[in-house]
């Protein structure tokens, strides 16, 4: 067994963790398991890819694709990512306005909203396949050499960047949720939406901010995954179960929990591949999930309701 599984697990875990943050926020504030969240990752990646291609065609002479330092991408990708995040947020807001918001206003049961999200997930995925085809696409075609990190571990600059970016985003988001008025309002709505109204909190505004954060992080996670592997219409769907596992493992509603849950799932998958073989990848991750929940049913950082 080599230590490389640690790096592989951390890299996979950061993508899962970032995606799981949006899922755990949606679950704790809107109170439903959002199956479209995986598709937000895929849409974020494709929208960023489209903007990146558009920028490349528009201002190719400005070195949009010329690699930045040790990385495989040019300045066009960060700019495209910002526009991609904006477009992904607009997509989620539109979906909430057309579907989830209407169901909420009509007092639909959580299971109805979950099934609606399942249907919307399939529609979003099919739409991606229709627009972009099922062929894999790439944000960059530059080759990168994995640099030695010691103890036999290796990682490319892009891979290390995703770990660093995740750490920065998680710290920033945790400060936002614990130190700002909107963060307090989000935690209040998560505990008791009716009481939040009595305190003067506009719950609809909190819901909008939740979608914005969830969609933004989903787009970043999708682009990170696309940068390191490839972009496919099913990439979000394939990540959906690990995302749920990470959110539940970390404790529903906990942002650090979602990330740590993601890292645990990522590491479990990486070690499972090395020890048992690739076919055990998902199975071992779920065994870890079940074992943790048997000992701590609220997840690692969840509080009893």
């Amino acid at each position: 067994m080599s230590f490389q599984a640690i790096i592989d697990g951390l890299i996979a875990g950061t993508t899962i963790g970032l995606g799981a943050i949006g899922l755990t926020l949606t679950y704790s504030i809107l109170r439903f398991a959002n199956f479209t969240h995986g598709d937000f990752l895929a849409w974020g990646a494709y929208l960023t890819l489209s903007v990146s291609g558009f920028l490349g065609g528009l201002v190719a002479s400005l070195g949009v694709t010329t690699p930045l330092g040790p990385f495989s991408f040019g300045w066009g990708l960060p700019v495209s990512l910002i526009i991609g995040i904006t477009l992904t947020i607009l997509l989620t807001m539109a979906l909430d306005k057309l579907l989830f918001g209407r169901l909420r206003r009509r007092g639909a049961d959580a299971i109805i909203i979950v099934m609606a999200s399942f249907g919307a997930s399939m529609a979003l995925r099919s739409l991606l396949e229709f627009i972009y085809t099922a062929n894999p696409q790439y944000l960059t075609r530059e080759l990168q050499i994995a640099e030695p990190l010691g103890l036999g571990m290796r990682a490319t600059p892009d891979q290390l960047l995703t770990i660093g970016l995740t750490a920065v985003l998680v710290v920033a988001l945790n400060l936002f949720v614990t130190r700002t008025p909107m963060g307090r309002a989000m935690r209040a709505v998560s505990e008791n939406p009716a009481l939040a109204g009595v305190y003067g909190i506009e719950v609809q505004r909190v819901i909008r901010v939740t979608w914005i954060i969830g969609a933004g992080l989903a787009c970043v996670a999708g682009v990170m995954s696309g940068l390191l592997v490839q972009i496919r219409p099913y990439m979000g769907f394939d990540l959906l179960l690990p995302l749920f596992a990470a959110a539940i493992l970390g404790g529903v509603g906990s942002i650090p929990g979602a990330v740590i849950g993601g890292l645990i799932i990522g590491l479990a998958e990486a070690f499972a591949v090395q020890i048992f073989g690739a076919e055990w990848r998902a199975g071992v991750a779920f065994i870890v999930l079940v074992l943790v929940l048997l000992v701590r049913p609220t997840g690692l950082f969840g509080r009893p309701s």
Partner: protein
């Protein structure tokens, strides 16, 4: 001057099944009014509906000169209608200070710290551990925090739904002392209570609700003899009950 005016008000959880049936009353500025009645009379539904927590099915509610009929609860809190629900009236997973900080968002930024300090002075128990989770507070302290939260914005009208429910007799005494002090600061108080005797002690006027309708509206003195109140609770007309 009228602080709150309720006219032919109907409310309930199901549009076809009103629980509050055509209730009308006015509360004057600075008045302390208790709303009493037997179990299931619709007392809590009445105040919850006024506070935007239950569907308003008809009638009109005015806060001062503003028509607030059917307004959402967050808008009512911003307009100055304080409401303390019976249960689950604080955020247990937030600290005591965070509970107050959320309420303080409704006052101008320059006054927030002062208002929070004012509440800590009014409720010294809360000042001892401001960064403790509110869920760690005792039943009485929770009611103090709920009242502090509602008072922090200096609301002209404060409605409380059974603040003594589930508390020990000693804590009930503390809660009613607090309510008396609150009323002495000039806040208009509307108090829904099962503990009728204690409620009548600190209020000057009582509304008796029976089966969703107003059975009596008058000074509390008229009800302190217990017998009249008992007859009203059993559904006798106010004239017969007082005869």
């Amino acid at each position: 001057m009228t602080a709150l005016s309720v006219t032919d008000f109907q409310a309930g959880y199901d549009p076809d099944l009103p629980i509050v049936k055509g209730v009308s009353f006015d509360v004057q500025v600075g008045e302390a009014v208790s709303v009493v009645g037997p179990n299931g009379a619709g007392k809590s539904t009445l105040v919850k509906a006024i506070a935007g927590q239950v569907i308003c099915l008809g009638g009109r509610v005015q806060l001062g000169d503003d028509d607030i009929t059917g307004a959402p609860s967050h808008a009512l809190a911003r307009r100055g209608l304080g409401f303390v629900p019976q249960t689950e009236n604080i955020f247990t997973q937030l600290t005591i200070r965070e509970n107050l900080q959320i309420a303080a968002e409704l006052v101008p930024a320059s006054k927030r710290a002062d208002q929070i300090d004012k509440m800590f002075d009014m409720f010294p128990d809360l000042k001892e551990r401001p960064n403790a989770l509110a869920g760690a507070l005792s039943g009485g302290q929770r009611q103090m925090l709920a009242a502090a939260r509602a008072l922090l914005t200096d609301p002209p009208v404060l409605m409380l739904d059974e603040p003594s429910a589930g508390l020990s007799p000693k804590l009930v005494g503390q809660v009613f002392d607090t309510l008396r002090r609150i009323h002495e600061t000039g806040v208009t108080l509307i108090l829904v209570e099962q503990n009728v005797r204690a409620a009548l002690e600190i209020t000057t006027r009582a509304l008796v609700l029976v089966d969703g309708a107003l059975a009596h509206d008058g000074p509390t003195e008229a009800l302190r003899d217990g017998k009249t109140l008992g007859q009203l609770f059993l559904g006798q007309s106010p004239e017969r009950a007082q005869a």
